[in-house]
Symmetry: C2
């Protein structure tokens, strides 16, 4: 099945990693792929634009189906290959809610990182302000703190589950 | 089931509409809800922040499950109430790929609209540039043209199906 898949990707791109990790998790190895260079603007090449008018990577086809948005592609692959590889959407309503919540929040995390890291790329020279750069940095720091708090809670809830598990074992 | 749901929403918010439309499509009427005012900064109120640390609307709970991101909430509701109301995720791989693709692209559409419409809100007075506003406008125009082309293709394929359907009827 993976042979009918075609991935155009760029190095260092978290959305590309997201899709490639999902392909591995679903045991969809052996797909056709091509590494393109952002520096050489290959993501704006004719080959990409024909599949993905946004000229972004990843650009992904499964047979004739085009699904370039990485989160959408992960959901599509999970739905199409439910029983293959690792199950990526949990059954429990609580875990499912948390997964969808963090999955979508992840997009804001990435965006806030990009606004800061690529500030000079997005703002032309005459439009740059230290105050704007500082604001983007502050927003990223706030975002990172939020994720740190999420991770702390994961740690706590894992510990909590472990404790509960142990107490069951001891009973 | 809808009685265990609680929605905090704001008027004029497409993400709120997205979730509210999904609730209607899934026949989940009768949920508890509260209309809050963006103007009065009620989306940054203690009640919201306790459920949604981002201080955004919609803020949504189903029992103890919190799912504030509207796209995530739509996917969660569809998965939890698959056999209720209208089916929102198509079975056919081609339609499913298209749905996920457009669903995720919709976020960029909204973002490009906000960058232009709320430019004065995001850029403090000393940081505003006509060139930046023009760029945001150009980006929005490009985005709108892309969606127009999507809609034209939908129109064509509907017309195509209709023609085929008619030819079947005439046979």
């Amino acid at each position: 099945m993976a042979k009918s898949m075609y991935l155009l990707w760029g190095s260092g791109s978290p959305p590309c990693w997201r899709l490639m990790i999902t392909l591995e998790e679903k045991k969809l190895q052996g797909y056709k792929q091509k590494l393109l260079s952002f520096e050489k603007e290959e993501h704006k090449s004719k080959e990409v634009l024909e599949i993905n008018p946004r000229g972004q990577l990843p650009t992904f086809k499964h047979g004739e189906n085009i699904i370039n948005e990485s989160v959408g592609a992960c959901l599509y692959l999970e739905n199409q290959f439910k029983s293959q590889g690792n199950k990526l959407i949990p059954d429990s309503p609580a875990e499912q809610a948390l997964m969808y919540q963090r999955m979508m929040e992840g997009l804001f995390f990435l965006e806030k990182m990009e606004f800061f890291v690529f500030y000079d790329f997005y703002a032309p020279e005459g439009e740059r302000h230290d105050s704007a750069l500082k604001r983007h940095k502050d927003n990223l720091v706030t975002e990172l703190k939020l994720w740190e708090s999420y991770l702390e809670n994961v740690g706590l809830s894992t510990a909590h589950r472990k404790t509960r598990g142990e107490s069951h074992t001891l009973r």
